[in-house]
Symmetry: D2
Subunit: 447 residues, 4 copies
């Protein structure tokens, strides 16, 4: 992620959560909580803990200098702890980071950042749900062509499309909530995961520390078992993928030849000075872009699960860079999509017109269903196939062709034929599906 | 996956679950269940349903021929349904697949295969858990070097290592169980997800069909919202990654220079005729290989989430190939790892010897903890640092050097010094961590 | 790759090249050539070589049995060499595989398969080039809308589109040729890459062996340096990606609302019995699918470059499975795309109609260029912007609006205005670009 | 990439090349060169060109403001061109960017940055080659164990290992040079790749523009055909993978139990205050980390090849972020590896000691070769197998066991036996291979 990505493919809030300063702040939070927990357990003097807590304030540290020392030391925790010891001073400095290893501080800090990141993402997803829900309600009856393999198939409503977007988004919010609850665990194991320095008091301090930081205390330290990290990464990648599905639909619907939606206009947005005819769906495009970048990171984290022995070389270090980028891009994918949807201009007229593009051929299935009770399904299917093909071949509408067919006329009068060819009457369970998506969303909100 | 992969990087059971024949069998199961559900709802005659069910038997179909027609048709479901209609015959053929679309049959069949696949994987993971649990119990007190960044750090026990493997494996079994429960949903939506052919009866038929197949009936068809599929894929990839972490440890421990474990010998296994000194860890290597191949598929499925409109072009078709390979390779990763672990030869002597490789320097931390009560931590740390560095520089043991140091002698007698330098006495919470992993595993078994 | 993939996403020829039997055949070819080279160098008796060569025939071996032993041995080469020794018999068996290691046989066999695979791919790409070249020539003047961000922008011709497809395809053929020439190297290094068994004769035997197999003899064995393998893999992935770009365009052009191309009809192809209005672009969709699967393999091979020491554990074993799948899917992507393009139905009328969809607004830039000499660019741009926006707003054509504007009328008569709004007159360098692509293709053919 | 990555996993030079400011500077370079080329072709007044060139200076622009406008506009080029027009002023502003499209400026700027980036990488790779060459020369005769599947196999020299690293690195330098020469092409096509605004002068201006910028002028604009971009990306990924192979070897050799190399000590580097016994290979670990991050980006770029129509939505926008990160991480992988190698401490004694770890069993093959002339290969192999296995079983050295075996004593005296068991005498073509790698490197330097 660089300046360009920062401006276009993430949100300022998420950038802040994963800034190096925030990483240092969370490491300091770990060190302070550790001191408190150890003082409570009688392992370090409470004066030491007080002094340490006092020094664990971001403004006391030169983040830039720490970063440059980190390159050499192999982790940011080493110079940070060194620096913190100095600040705490001669008397109590030795109690800093007692019994912990660098990776304890690094992993826990990253987990704390991830918690903040998940909170932001969940909130953004809920906002997106609200937008989708509004579209689903408002366009419950806005009939349009359903498309499969990018061919018109049978009618749907735009409300149903929005309801499916809602369902998809709502499930991601639910997943991220589940990850936040179950997959954010304290890291605290000392040099090789035995908490040896603390003798038998290790697990007690760990529990206390977990409570201080409101993190789950795991059964065993997980320095080299990164399944939790990978699971969160995968959920983010799936969320990003979900966003790209929806954003991709927006881009396709906004095609000149389809023209059923348009991103909202704004000064400096999506235009082209040379081509005033164009209004580019820039928010949806940005969402797709951010999503691609996010999804690309998931395999990095999954591959990084192969960690050597008790604490690995190179893999968890990659996570410290990969996870923040993954959060940032996912945030971009969500927020740019919401920008696209919340100001989306829906062209209902064009939706209606497009239904007639193939002379109403996408009502063939409906006609067949109407004929079947009168002549049996086999005959109905055969006749409908004939008139549809003939309509397409002669560039007539299905309506004209069906009206002219005596076999159809014999059983359906014009009124009934019209009904059978009316898209709005051939929507099956559309309404129920919309209701269900809205109900599920209501449940999510209530949880 | 080809013949080589089939022989080495999967299991025969999993190969069977994802064979093309099994895919066809599950599609037939879908068609039979659909007919039954529609007969029950009064939508098709019950005689039609009986006849359809009767014809939905794999042995009636030429799978090879179907596969070759599928290439042209774009999906296996089209020729299969056509063929099934013919078999059902003139009278009832038209009731076959009523109201469904090809993707309904394809997706549901894949989901049913995935259910079988998950059952196999969960069972294999439980077997692997049992193996790890045995190692954790048996080697609870087998002291060895803990290693970080591939450097010896402080002592652990092999039982702790096995307990961490156990925890990692147990969590994957738990995850896959959760996926099996919550992420396997019926697909049934008709041409564009509205179930229009079925009028208002669609959701009723869907519920019935879900019960027939014992699958969750989703709120809305999910033809183009593939988050469930992606989530299962990710869980499999993470399971595969977990296997590679453990298998990688085996490979590292089996290095000539480490020599702490050896894969069990068997005729034709891991040998090298030219080099009788070698015994290659072939099972662990195969597990790593299968894992790499599995993890590589996850991004294919995640990228395939971007599906156009109501039913997409090219993306869900890729899943039909990718998901089976993912299941197969993951099964290979699990089962080859279990082969490695269940016959693993543990060289306790070598583990002990390796502890002394750096003259006992990995007990420096322990010595410091022993000195601290006598002189305060700062002094203890300073003195230990000095003697350790001097021991390393002069290639003496830490024991010799510490014994010779009057500052240490003044506070610790030889007996106490010996205790402080004994690895088995510096294991912190190791025992508790092992207990916890075993307890968690017991909970899993009881669930 | 399974039965479904084999039927739809590859070619029979490529399946044959990468069948397990072919792998064994190429390993036998290696062993035979090695025996010959060593006999020539006086290292083994020529009678031994004759006997070995005689036995190196595929029909003598039970591939299935070898595959199942391979699982245990860790590589197919071990049981194969063992079996070959037995067949050669008591007297000369010990000369089999002399000085070589399993990976020498495995890698070289894979490289020989890759050479066959590249030959097939290059031939297929050349056929695809021919198809594109025909389209480029035939539709040189078929005007259609150029589209950017899926919005109509300015006119192009379908010939230009085909010429760009041609250039893209032609460059891939060129790349694969370059890979075939420069990146297929013999593997021959013995146990740890020193050819120690052969004393000082090693490099001599290697050169001879390379000549026998018509492979480049590398400076040093490359058991653990897989850059050549990764480069070939990347080129295949890029070829597959190129196919998906073109196939994706076909799918987009075949949308009901665009309707500019249609895949050729054939019995059982792309239809939908329920929806006679649909003709799915199944070949293009299959090409996209195969491409996705191919591209997904590239990172597996790239990640597998991290190989330990002289010969690695798990990484090159993954290539033996990954590279064949990569070749197969790439072949599928190329051949299914060629199926799509070679029978493509071009709807020139629809292309013309679509140009008018936005009331001719995509000629705005052209009008501005026509006005500029009369009033300066600034004024021209301003006026054109006004009339275009007004045309769009009032749903009139740009022609009507421009004709009514006195500022335009003052400098352009109706005839000149018509010219300025004629798409076929606003194609810039289109013709030259088509010529160049055809010329480049001619050069490739001549090489 | 964030602050942490910037400090540890790239170089300041590469960060500068891909800073947003550099991107803007290169876009301005494009605009200036375009103005010059169009003035020369008589398309715009030369006064306009002069004024434009004058304004194309980075310091005139507020990059931060541009970035924030870019989010809305969809590309940085739109606000930049708008801003440049304003600066150029009323009279000549309209000549800015004449005939070009945003993507022309964006792509060309990125290509220019990539050229600078490749220059830096090639220089760094050459420096790394020099380091490897020195190691290869200096340690030509430093005998050590060759390792396969992480098991000791037969002896090699450290010089050979370094020579293989050299060959691998040298080939990457060569590849990147080839990419720099052949794959960096000007982008210039106007709105939809026809250069329509320039009438028939388009290709002339393009050639001129290519010369101004010293970039290849392609046959056709390549807005949506990204094979060149993907090829460069793949080469970088392969370079990164190559670095990880070497860095991985360093990490493995530095294991406590192997101890054959150690990264150079420096204040604050790789230490652990709690464990003075540890010296972590932080540079090698950082190289592995940077490599993982780099390789992960390649599939993003490959997937992004699927670009719609003439200019795509979302894919090339992803490259603008992905390519810079790929360059930065690759630079980190190269430079951190060079840090590791250039100060590497080689422990020759430990290499010698490790050869004896398995009682000299890795000389078994050598003994067999020595015996063969006396008793035929079959007998020699049988006897050696027996004594080696017996030596291993009884924890004796191969030397002791062979000396005691009368069958061996009968044909080899002790002196000859000693020779046969001397690792330095069983190195095959090692020397020649080293010479060849050095010679290839010399050729590269001379090119």
């Amino acid at each position: 992620m660089n300046g360009i990505a920062e401006a276009s493919f993430t949100t300022p809030d998420m950038t802040a959560v994963f800034a190096p300063e925030a990483h240092v702040r969370q490491m300091l939070r770990f060190e302070a909580a550790l001191a408190r927990a150890e003082a409570q357990a009688g392992i370090i003097p409470s004066e030491a803990a007080e002094r340490i807590v006092e020094c664990c304030r971001l403004e006391r540290f030169d983040v830039k200098a720490l970063l440059s020392e980190a390159a050499n030391a192999g982790t940011l925790a080493i110079p940070l702890v060194g620096n913190l010891m100095e600040q705490v001073g001669e008397q109590y400095g030795r109690y800093v980071h007692w019994g912990a290893t660098s990776q304890d501080a690094t992993d826990t800090a990253l987990v704390l950042q991830m918690r903040d990141g998940l909170d932001l993402l969940i909130a953004d997803l809920l906002r997106l749900c609200a937008t989708c829900a509004t579209l689903a309600e408002r366009h419950r009856h806005t009939v349009m062509a359903g498309r499969t393999l990018l061919q018109q198939a049978v009618p749907i409503t735009f409300g149903l499309k929005a309801a499916r977007w809602l369902g998809l988004t709502e499930r991601q919010a639910r997943e991220l909530r589940a990850r936040r609850r179950g997959y954010l665990a304290l890291q605290f194991g000392g040099a090789a995961g035995t908490l040896a320095v603390l003798g038998t008091a290790g697990v007690h301090v760990a529990r206390q520390l977990g409570q201080e930081l409101q993190l789950t205390t795991p059964e065993i330290p997980w320095h080299a078992e990164r399944d939790r990290m990978a699971t969160v990464a995968a959920s983010l990648g799936i969320t990003a993928g979900a966003m790209a599905k929806i954003a991709g639909d927006v881009v396709l619907l906004a095609q000149t030849e389809v023209g059923e939606v348009l991103e909202g206009a704004a000064p400096g947005k999506g235009g082209s000075s040379a081509m005033p005819n164009k209004r580019n769906p820039t928010d949806a495009v940005a969402s797709v872009t951010a999503s691609r970048l996010a999804v690309g990171i998931v395999p990095v984290v999954l591959s990084a699960m192969v960690q050597e022995h008790e604490r690995a070389a190179g893999s968890w270090q990659a996570e410290v860079v990969a996870m923040p980028d993954l959060f940032r891009y996912t945030a971009g994918a969500v927020s740019r999509l919401r920008d696209a949807l919340s100001a989306l201009e829906i062209n209902e007229e064009r939706m209606r017109d497009n239904l007639n593009l193939s002379g109403g051929a996408l009502m063939a299935e409906s006609l067949m269903v109407a004929l079947a009770p009168h002549m049996g399904r086999p005959a109905a299917q055969r006749i409908v196939k004939e008139v549809t093909e003939s309509a397409i071949a002669q560039q007539r509408t299905l309506h004209t062709e069906a009206l002219a067919d005596p076999r159809i006329g014999a059983v359906l009068g014009e009124a009934k034929l019209n009904k059978a060819l009316e898209a709005a009457r051939y929507l099956g369970s559309t309404d129920i599906f919309i209701d269900r998506a809205l109900a599920q969303y209501a449940v999510l909100l209530a949880e």
